[in-house]
Amino acid sequence: MIDGVGVYDIVAVATIVFFVGVFGFLTRKNLISLLISIELMLNAVVVNFVAFNKYLYPGRLDGYIFSLFVIAVAAAEVALAIALIIALYRLDNSIEADDMDSLQG
């Protein structure tokens, strides 16, 4: 509990950061930038977890533990993503997301 700060304030900050991440995801082309945007979003979500746990369910630990998990998974995700980025870079010397459209049938 932070004095004078309600749950809404924290969640609002998290929301703003989240949407900034979304904006980044939509406007960046570089794969690493995309990754950064995703990290922003993930972090914003973790803040939500923590805030809700702290303010709404102080007697419980689920939000707390979930944030731990999210952090762990995010770490795994980043490791994998960077491995992929490097592999892709080796493949065609570019990590521009728009160059990759082999998903298209």
């Binding site: 979304v22 995801f25 939509l26 997301a97 990759m100 459209d101």
Partner: protein
């Protein structure tokens, strides 16, 4: 009296059909054995039909002489009857054996001719490729024809009617590597099939309104047709009238009545014994038999309107066929037209008949003529076959002076010619005389036609007789010789029958109301018909006994008429036009085109539209993750807004 054994009349040829058909035509089975490849199949077929023949004779004896006329008329007996297929609770398709005067008579005719033809064929077909196949088909035909004549109901008749049609197809197309034979077989089948279409529709109408297929119920005086109200009518005829007319169409097709006759001359492409059996003695009379079977209906329904149609169809056919027969070169075709002409006689006789007592003279005469005609026409064909066998040609110009080489054939052929020309005491005289008498009583115009036809018949029959056995003496590449005994014995037997059958007091046995009566010869008419026959013969003798230029001059004199008859009044060409120009080019080709382009085009159009649309929206599926995310995002926001708006949360 038990007639249960009559089933064996069928079973024997069925067995021989199966045996020959399944075993005889398998080269792997028959192997190199001379015996199995050779005549044994012929003898099996002949033996089976011989058994049937004996049984048929026994049946005839028992039916006509032992059973007699218990209550003044000849009874209808069932040899067997069982349900073959069920249409509804009340309507079933039965199989069975119905014995009454005409069916017993037909049993005798069919088995006799069939047996003799089988016997003859063992000689005629010797050494031919497909010998076993031939006998299998002959057996099949025999079974079918027997089934047809003893049918207990009209559907059973239709059943075997189609089967004789297909046997006929198979036998006409026996030499299947000959294109003309294939074409003739196809033509025969399709033309009769077209006629059978009428037959089938007639059966459907009849059975729907009468509620039964059974002959007995149908023709009984208190039955659904004759006993009930006339039913609804359509274009001046009652439904039963239409049904009978359509059924007659089937009969006319099978019996080669004008204008459905075109298949019969072409059918002569088949081996000659086949022509004798199917296209002269038995199958072609099925139409006549059908009308006779339903005779009370034809006589009563719509005041006999359909019966008059039958009479006139018969009359016109007999005249046209006789005219064409005068000018044909191919002896088998002459015989075919002659058959048509005689069938016309029979139809006409039925058409001018009444139902009871002496009124029924025409009916009796028709059946009588059917009986005698079967004998002498089979004889004519077999004789012609014997000649063809000897000279290897069908054409009259390849023949001449054969009486020295083939005495038995010559004499028996002469007997048959005299019989068909109506010279006493040969059988044709008696039956034809009855027909003329019946026609004379009912319709003078028809009588005149038939009288003329009698003369023409005598002329063209003796034209070929003199053409073959007399005429120009000529030398042959292979000296013709008399046929072997298996071929001449049937000729002799048939010749004897052709002489004797005329003496049968037919009215005692076969009449329209199954009540015997004593017929008598109308001598003034008889003398007149003998006279016209003799005139015909004398003219033919003058023209053809010695080579001279009379035929050519006559042909010249008649000019166009000669050409018309020689070209068979161009009826074939009309059919050709209808078949090719209208059916093939006018319907089938447009249908095929329509299907490919319009119906399928529509389906493809649907496909094309889908494809085009999908190409249009395919760019949405760009494979770019950011774009997906954007759309996802936008969609999500829109959706949430929608939910908020709908639930009212947005406002409060």
């Amino acid at each position: 009296m038990d007639f249960g054994y009559t089933i064996w009349i069928f079973v024997l040829p069925i067995l021989s059909f199966l045996a020959i058909g399944l075993l005889g035509t398998r080269p792997a089975l028959t192997g190199r054995s001379e015996l199995l490849r050779g005549r044994v199949w012929g003898w099996i077929g002949t033996g089976a039909v011989f058994g049937s023949w004996l049984l048929a004779l026994v049946t005839a004896y028992r039916y006509f002489f032992v059973l007699g006329t218990p209550d003044g008329h000849r009874p209808v007996v069932f040899g067997a009857k069982w349900v073959w297929m069920r249409f509804s609770e009340h309507l079933s398709f039965d199989m069975g054996i119905l014995l009454d005067p005409i069916s017993v008579m037909m049993l005798v005719v069919v088995t006799t001719v069939s047996f003799l033809v089988h016997l003859y064929s063992t000689g005629y077909m010797a050494g031919e490729r497909g010998y076993a196949r031939f006998f299998a088909f002959l057996s099949l035909f025999t079974v079918s024809m027997l089934g047809l004549v003893v049918a207990t109901n009209i559907f059973q008749m239709y059943f075997f009617w189609e089967l004789v049609g297909v046997s006929s197809y198979l036998l006409i197309g026996f030499y299947y590597d000959k294109p003309s034979a294939v074409a003739a077989a196809k033509k025969a089948f399709i033309v009769t099939r077209f006629a059978d279409l009428g037959f089938l529709i007639g059966i459907l109408i009849l059975s729907y309104y009468a509620g039964t297929f059974d002959f007995q119920t149908l023709v009984s005086a208190g039955g659904p047709v004759l006993g009930g109200p006339a039913g609804r009518s359509f274009m001046g005829l009652s439904v039963f009238g239409w049904a009978l007319g359509l059924i007659f169409m089937g009969g006319a097709g099978k019996s080669a009545m004008f204008p459905l006759h075109i298949w019969l001359p072409d059918a002569m492409e088949g081996p000659t014994p086949v022509s004798a059996l199917i296209h002269a003695a038995t199958m072609v009379v099925a139409g006549v038999y059908l009308v006779a079977r339903l005779f009370p209906l034809y006589h009563e329904v719509d005041g006999g309107a359909i019966l008059r149609l039958v009479a006139w169809t018969g009359g016109i056919t007999s005249l046209i066929a006789a005219l064409i027969a005068m000018t044909q070169e191919d002896i088998k075709r002459v015989l075919a037209y002659s058959t048509m002409s005689q069938l016309g006689y029979m139809m006409l006789a039925l058409g001018v008949s009444g139902l009871h007592g002496h009124e029924g003279l025409g009916y009796m005469a028709s059946m009588f003529h059917l009986f005698t005609h079967a004998m002498f026409k089979a004889l004519l064909f077999l004789g012609a076959g014997s000649v063809i066998h000897a000279v290897h040609s069908n054409l009259m110009r390849d023949m001449g002076g054969l009486r020295k080489y083939m005495p038995v054939t010559h004499l028996t052929f002469l007997v048959a010619c005299l019989a068909i020309s109506g010279i006493p005491p040969f059988s044709g005289f008696f039956s034809k005389d009855e027909i003329l008498a019946a026609a004379f009583e009912r319709d003078k115009l028809l009588f005149v036609i038939e009288y003329a036809v009698a003369g023409i018949t005598a002329f063209y029959m003796f034209r070929i007789y003199f053409g073959i056995f007399w005429g120009r003496e000529r030398t042959y590449a292979h000296t013709p010789h008399e046929s072997p005994a298996v071929m001449t014995i049937p000729l002799v037997v048939l010749a004897i029958l052709s002489v004797l059958t005329g003496l049968v007091p037919f009215g005692e046995y076969v009449t329209a109301d199954r009540t015997p009566y004593h017929g008598h010869i109308n001598w003034p008419l008889a003398l007149a018909s003998i006279a016209v026959g003799v005139v015909g013969i004398l003219v033919a003798k003058r023209f053809y006994q010695r080579p001279n230029d009379l035929p050519a001059r006559a042909a010249e004199m008649w000019g166009r008429w000669y050409k018309w008859t020689r070209d068979k009044f161009y009826i074939d060409e009309i059919y050709q036009f209808v078949a090719h120009k209208i059916m093939f080019a006018g319907i089938a080709a447009p249908v095929a085109w329509f299907d490919r382009h319009v119906v399928d085009g529509f389906m493809r159009g649907l496909g094309w539209m889908t494809e085009t649309f999908s190409l249009l929206i395919a760019d949405l599926q760009s494979g770019r993750v950011r774009q997906y995310a954007f759309v996802f995002m936008g969609g999500l926001i829109a959706l949430v807004l929608l939910v908020l708006f709908v639930t009212g949360l947005l406002n409060g």
